[in-house]
């Protein structure tokens, strides 16, 4: 137990901050994912074949390639890409991007592909009559989407989004390869310096279980809230 003490003697406070970091990365990644889903869902549902192709390309590639490979692409390619853009503007110094930003972008793009599929499925399962009724009532496109489709879609999407959240939360463990100090990285450091990997990795597993358990409870509440009246 003294291994988990707070302060200088134990790893308690380090692991606590690492857990906060995991939560922060997961939430950021989820939001980045929503942003991507907001762009790509309309593309996938569009009438135009080319736009469909772009949307399908995104979801197929990201869901068919290992997360770790995407993270390596961002980790090794991220600063290179930024430096290339900077060099156009005449800036040739070395630029290092924050591991937090690279990590949440990489996980966000992965999470976005899953969110896109969820939103697409949810929109497609809304009754066609709803779209038609909105049109007949003379509601403009913007109102149709935000006031009629979106609330109904959210109700249908929440159970599947909770799966996406779980995947995203677990994927953040992979960012540890880039050196961002989240649960996995901190356990790695602690395991290395105390030579007690079994304890620290098992403790990391417990932390992840706790996070998934608590978030499931919260999402269930949300689900109840959004299905009022059904």
């Amino acid at each position: 137990m003294e291994l988990l003490a707070f302060g200088k003697t134990g790893w308690g406070d380090e692991l606590f901050y690492a857990t906060l970091m995991t939560i922060a990365v997961s939430i950021t990644a989820m939001l980045v994912g929503f942003f991507f889903a907001l762009i790509f869902t309309p593309l996938k549902l569009s009438k135009y074949k080319t736009l469909n192709l772009v949307g399908n390309f995104y979801t197929t590639v990201i869901r068919g390639v290992p997360e770790l490979l995407v993270i390596y692409l961002f980790f090794f390619g991220g600063s290179g890409a930024i430096m290339y853009v900077a060099s156009i503007f005449g800036y040739y110094e070395y630029i290092e991007i924050n591991a937090f930003i690279t990590g949440s972008m990489a996980i966000g793009i992965i999470s976005g592909a899953y969110s896109t599929e969820v939103f697409r499925g949810a929109i497609q399962s809304i009754d066609k009559g709803q779209f038609e009724a909105a049109k007949v009532l003379g509601i403009n496109k913007f109102g149709q989407f935000y006031k009629i489709i979106l609330p109904q879609m959210l109700r249908l999407a929440i159970p599947n989004l909770s799966n996406v959240w779980q995947i995203t939360l677990k994927d953040t463990s992979l960012i540890s390869v880039t050196g961002l100090v989240e649960i996995m990285r901190q356990s790695y450091i602690a395991a290395g310096s105390t030579r007690d990997p079994l304890f620290f990795y098992s403790f990391a597993a417990v932390l992840y279980l706790l996070l998934t358990y608590v978030s499931m409870k919260l999402i269930n509440k949300l689900e109840v809230r959004y299905s009022r009246g059904y």
Binding site: F76, G77, D171, S173, L174, L198, A204, A205, Y208, L209
Partner: protein
């Protein structure tokens, strides 16, 4: 774009694909049996057996695969007793540690897939078997299992693809699988995009094949001929 690098790295990556496929097929093979075993335990009426099977799938589905591999590869070696048993021959090899971790992981997901498939079998089918005087054992092996396998094909296809992506984590325990070799080439040449295109292309090709094989099997074994 460095096309030369893409051409020269392709054979290396293809060689590493063999390692990925070996890891995948071994863990899917063992995982299927483990999953079936735990799915049957889940259907057991004894509450302790039931809870034990649920706990197994909850723990392995609720924690990242990376943690599971690290516990098995780095953690188990710490137990002095294990080092003296014959198990150590297996556990000191990263290859077998990875396969054990993947098997336990895919077993947990497979058990959930099969459990829900067993539960969606209409009671009428089992009753029909009973009224024909077929024994419970044969009903289970000849009626319930084949129907459950057919029902779970689409979900299991997804699981195969997820597992294929999961094998990339073998690279974190020093194995040179497709992702491991890709990372090595990236870190020596600093050309991430080119390597990503080639390695990602190989992964996508495998996804494509798995997807179509499952689709074919679904069609072949569909109830409406």
């Amino acid at each position: 774009m460095d096309f030369d690098l893409m051409f020269t790295s392709f054979p290396k990556l293809l060689g590493a694909t063999v390692v990925t496929l070996k890891l995948l097929s071994a863990s899917l093979f063992f995982g299927l049996f483990l999953g079936l075993f735990f799915a049957i335990l889940r259907l057991n009426k004894n509450i302790f057996i039931n809870k034990f099977a649920y706990g197994y799938s909850y723990i392995f589905r609720g924690t990242p695969l990376l943690v599971q591999i690290f516990i098995i590869y780095f953690g188990l070696g710490q137990i002095e007793y294990l080092r003296t048993t014959f198990l150590w021959v297996i556990l000191k090899e990263p290859y077998w540690c990875a396969i054990i971790a993947f098997t336990l992981n895919t077993g947990a997901y497979t058990s959930e897939i099969l459990r829900s498939a067993f539960q969606t079998i209409k009671p009428g089918i089992i009753e029909a078997g009973k009224s024909l005087g077929i024994s419970n054992k044969i009903i289970f092996y000849k009626i319930q299992i084949p129907i459950a396998i057919r029902q779970s094909l689409p979900a299991y296809g997804n699981e195969i693809i997820l597992m294929m992506k999961g094998t990339s984590l073998a690279s974190t325990v020093t194995l040179m699988d497709l992702t491991g070799v890709a990372k090595y080439i990236i870190s020596t040449t600093f050309k991430p995009i080119e390597v990503f295109i080639v390695a990602g292309g190989i992964y996508l090709f495998m996804t494509f094949i798995i997807h179509n094989v499952i689709k074919y099997l679904e069609k072949k074994y569909s109830f409406q001929q």
